[in-house]
Amino acid sequence: MEIFSNPLIYFVIIPMLTLLGLAFCNNRGIRAIRTVAVVGAVALVALAVYLVCLFLQARGAGDTSEMILQSKVTWYAPFNIELALGVDGVSVVMILLSAFIVFAGVFASWKMDPLPRQFFLWFFLLSTGVFGFFISIDLFTMFMFYEVALIPMYLLIGVWGSGNKNYSAMKLTLMLMGGSAFLMLGLIGIYFHSSADGNLTMNILDIAHNDAIPHQWQMYLFPLTFVGFGVLGAMFPFHTWSPDGHASAPTAVSMLHAGVLMKLGGYGCFRIAIYLMPYAASELAWIFLTLTGISIVYGAFSACVQTDLKYINAYSSVSHCGMVLFAILMFNTTAMTGAVLQMLSHGLMTALFFALIGMIYGRTHTRDIRDMGGMMHIMPYLGVGYVLAGLASLGLPGLSGFAAEMTIFFGSFENADLFRRVLTIIGASSIVITAVYILRVVAKLLFGEVQDEHHRTLTDASWEERLSTATLIVSVAIIGCFPNFFVNIISDSFLPVVNALKDYFPVAGL
């Protein structure tokens, strides 16, 4: 089959092979399970790096096509369902992000107990969905992979979670499924208006070129798709699954979920909702801008009073992911590039946070910051990691958050209307609130006197924990120190979207 010569398909095949490999292991052979998982994760990272090289090579060679490495196989002709693959700069960096998080996640769940084999099985099934989503450019395939990524969450939280896990797993799954229901309606609607001459198609690029969705239909379909994806992107007021879900999820699942899965929301919003329905996007942007603007400050203020480490990060994610959707709705290349940088940055640093929280929780058996203190003395490695993650989160230059947030703010400020300017200023003020809650946690958790004498005997990170966190820390630092490398990959990908919006939206600087 010709499609197997396309490197993209291997992003789905490798996790599936890993699944197969895991199926042959048995639960007592933890060594074999780990080996298979690590081989799978390393292969994904290698492939993702290779993909970046391919992309740079193609762009360097003057290939300016919207998507590279396109190929398709027909699946179900009556509905024009195809397995259509293709990537642009945004998908490339999202794939790179996912690969690194899967890699770090495998090491973070090194001592998973009980049922390690089943855990990794579901873990890799989830990864299959994530990668499949990012490589597809067909509405149906995207939706299918989207669901594949969501369903395993229920079991991963319900079986391996902690605390009030049944409630959380159910809540998370139901709310996300509710989002999918909206989304599916939206996608079906798009499909039936995908072409003016009756040649209906599921292919995103074709739909965008046809530009056939009637304006009055866009006004219905855009909110459906945007909210559908927005639920996963933790948009206010559909974010409440996030605190409970994250709090109950096991470490690696929190990492993957906050690190990658929530990015599916932002990615989908821009790739499907805005790109395919530019008219409705510019007409209705003000509603969603208001909601995401609320998300940013609301999440940050809520995080200030939480006492559970995971709740703090979950609310912090609401704030940071709000910024992603906020920037996407600013409709210019700069802000949208910032949104993708923010996705990368948030993905890595939240994964780092959850990894560290998991490691600390595994030792202290509490996540309540009031019961902890002086951890820096006891576990300096984890402490330093936590401080670095915190600094990345509050936007220290040299770490990823700063470059992302600055690109977003400067991009948003390019819009000259007062509404967007005021929202930008409100959004920017979150950098102060973020500093407040991050420093509060750092001071309570790491500094000060040791609160509980039993904590004095705890150990610092083991080698696999060090490897897992170091991978993420180095990635965060690389993005922070060399943001232009990523900006150059990303920014051109937004030209088609911005061009599509140009007819409806006065974009500054175009």
């Binding site: 203020f301 400067f410 390019e414």
Partner: protein, 664 residues
């Protein structure tokens, strides 16, 4: 020395930070300290080489047509916002950048050396966290150097954040102590709030001018500050206004607020006194000599723009003059010597700010000659001399604290006999800051006063008064520490002068404080690169020396020998004294706003709303679904009889309806 060697000046501290931070734990503490000092020594030598080449060398484009130029050594792209709006990270040398290289490296090197002794116990064993300490010092030095050589406004912002975080880490160095913990948090958050305004200022300015680059904002084609370029940058806003003021005035005011946060101008000064919880050498380096002048440096960098936007300049002038007085008043009553020095620092930085702001007194554009460029030069000159003598004072304070293990002056008294070298060094520092000729402070402060009188008699008089207060409170501290009454030896060993690593920096800085006033600043650091003709204004100089002497005499009268006069004065004006001692209750005000208004009034209600209203709604949805299905579950009983029964009833009902319809 080629000017491109400046890269090494930036790179070595960065390398030392990474090296000591990553590998330091594996090394012995002593070794990391020595390596840190050596690294800083090399940096200092190169920095001096570069700066002296810039000022006195020829042939590298630094002087053209008799004008000292701004030379961009290196300027790669770092982050592109759009094709034209690009953030670059580079190195730019102009008179103030070169001067700052000297200031930062000198003080940093002294502090590195001094810390070998200070961060050790009395037997010379380094304390815990020694490696971390040197790594953070290197990080700070790197950030500060990156700030002063910035080629564009955004780079300054980036390094503003970096120095902010190094300051945070160093204030909180003793992280087990709740006070240090609290102080570091406060310092970071207050300066972050200021940085938010800085960011807004940059956004506005860059939106209208389309650039961050100083070369397009302030530097002319001849490479020096140029009013015409600044004019056209301002004009590119096209006269846009917001709430009655031009957008550029807004932008510049916001940028000043950013600078005011770092430079501890009222009302953003509250973090600086608390920052004294950090180790004393850190206070000397960051909170006296270098980071706190970043705001002054920022305003000086954009000086031509501020000259045009008079409104912003007036704000700086008022804020500066008020802060100078306010901090001096508080410094008069503090009993913790580091706090007193901290308020003295705030007051002196306010001098520099005011000096910059009075530069444009006549409202017209600055003339090449004449008095109006004087304030700029005086400000930068004072920045230089102040860095030297204030670092000296702090390091002396550190030596004293190290000897008596307390910050409070009632634990000191009468130390002159025990620590003669420290005492003399402290005296030199006091004379310098009080403005007694020929010590460094006299020359720079005198020029500030001249510039202030140039703006108006009121401003001159006001600043002279503050100068008198400066002399008074400094000598109050000096007499209370070293004289007042006989020292009571509490600990088993009497206080003495500290080891050479600590004493040598004191001697060097004292020597510099004596001679620094003779640096020809009017030739080297003028706003437009031209030589500035100045001469001592004997009226101003004479009167300011007289006021300083009055201040010193008053302090002598009150505090040299133990007497009850200070106590009586305190009782006579107890309300004023208490208010000043409590810093006029600014901290309490902030405490109220942050805890009661923001935390209790905003955060807690939002969190409640989230859990109970929003989440409650979704839970209610789920519960409603649950109850509904519970209610209708009987329909799916599985009993065939009831299904048939319902089927029958339904069929009959349908038939009845049909019948009725047909009949009608």
């Amino acid at each position: 020395m080629p000017l491109s060697y400046t890269i090494a000046v930036i790179a070595i501290p960065l390398f030392m930070f990474l090296f000591l931070g990553l590998a330091g734990v594996k090394m012995s503490r002593k070794l990391t300290g020595v390596l840190g000092v050596l690294g800083m020594a090399v940096t200092t030598v190169i920095a001096y080489g570069v700066a002296l080449t810039y000022f006195f060398g020829t042939g590298q484009g630094q002087i053209a047509d008799g004008v000292r130029q701004a030379v961009t050594v290196f300027n790669p792209d770092w982050l592109s916002f759009t094709d034209t709006l690009v953030v670059r990270m580079g190195i730019l040398l102009d008179p103030i950048a070169a001067m700052m290289l000297i200031v930062v490296c000198t003080v940093s090197f002294m502090v590195h050396l001094y810390s070998l002794g200070y961060m050790s116990d009395h037997d010379g064993n380094p304390e815990e966290g020694f490696q971390r300490y040197y790594a953070f010092l290197a990080l700070f030095t790197f950030s500060m150097l990156g700030l002063v050589v910035a080629t564009n406004l955004f780079q300054i912002f980036v390094f503003f954040e970096m120095v902010g975080v190094s300051s945070y880490l160093l204030i909180g160095f003793y992280y087990s102590s709740p006070a240090a913990n609290h102080a570091s948090k406060k310092a970071f958050i207050v300066t972050r709030l200021a940085d938010l305004f800085f960011l807004l200022g940059i956004m506005i300015l860059s939106y209208y001018t389309g650039t961050f680059d100083f070369n397009q904002l302030v530097f002319g084609s001849n490479g020096a500050n140029d009013m015409a370029v600044a004019q056209s940058a301002i004009a590119s806003a096209g006269g846009a206004t917001f709430l009655g003021c031009s957008v550029t005035a807004w932008a510049l005011t916001f940028i000043f607020i950013g600078g005011a946060g770092k430079s501890a101008m009222y009302p953003l000064h509250i973090w600086l006194p608390d920052a004294m919880e950090g180790p004393t050498p850190v206070s000397a380096l960051i909170h006296a000599a270098t980071m706190v002048v970043a705001g002054v440096f920022l305003v000086a960098r954009l000086f031509p723009l501020y000259v045009i936007e008079q409104g912003a300049m007036e704000i700086i002038c008022v804020v500066g003059a008020f802060t100078a007085f306010y901090a001096a008043a508080i410094a008069c009553v503090q009993s913790d010597i580091k706090r007193a020095l901290a308020f003295s620092t705030i007051s002196q930085i306010a001098f520099m700010m005011t000096s910059l702001a009075v530069s444009s007194a006549d409202g017209a554009l600055i003339e090449i000659h004449g008095g109006t460029g004087l304030g700029y030069m005086a400000s930068m000159f004072h920045l230089f001399t102040h860095a030297m003598f204030k670092a000296l004072l702090f390091l002396c304070a550190g030596a004293i604290i190290h000897a008596v293990h307390s910050n409070e002056n009632d634990k000191m008294h009468g130390l002159h006999k025990f620590m003669p070298i420290t005492s003399i060094a402290f005296l030199i520092g006091c004379l310098a800051i009080a403005g007694i000729p020929p010590f460094a402070g006299f020359w720079s402060k005198d020029e500030i006063l001249v510039a202030a009188y140039h703006k108006g008699f009121f401003w001159g008089l006001w600043m002279s008064m503050v100068a008198g207060m400066t002399a008074f409170y400094m000598f109050r501290i000096y007499f209370l520490i070293f004289f007042w009454k006989k020292h009571e030896v509490h600990t088993h060993h009497a206080p003495k002068d500290q080891p050479w690593t600590m004493t040598l920096p004191l001697i060097i800085l004292a020597a510099v404080s004596v001679v620094a006033g003779f640096v020809p600043a009017h030739d080297l650091v003028t706003w437009n690169g031209h030589h500035l003709h100045t001469q001592l204004d004997w009226t101003v100089a004479g009167s300011s020396v007289a006021i300083a002497l009055v201040g010193i005499l008053l302090a002598y009268k009150l505090y040299f020998k133990e007497n009850d006069l200070p106590e009586r004065m305190k009782n006579a004006a107890s309300g004023l004294w208490t208010a000043a001692y409590h810093r006029f209750y600014m901290d309490e005000l902030y405490q109220f706003i942050t805890h009661k208004v923001i935390f209790q009034g905003i955060c807690v209600p939002i969190a409640w709303f989230d859990r109970h209203i929003i989440d409650g709604f979704f839970n209610m949805l789920a519960n409603a679904t649950g109850s509904a299905s519970f209610a209708i579950r009987r329909l799916q009983s599985g009993s065939v009889q009831s299904y048939v029964y319902i089927y029958l009833v339904g069929a009959l009902a349908l038939a009845a309806v049909t019948m009725v319809c047909v009949l009608i």
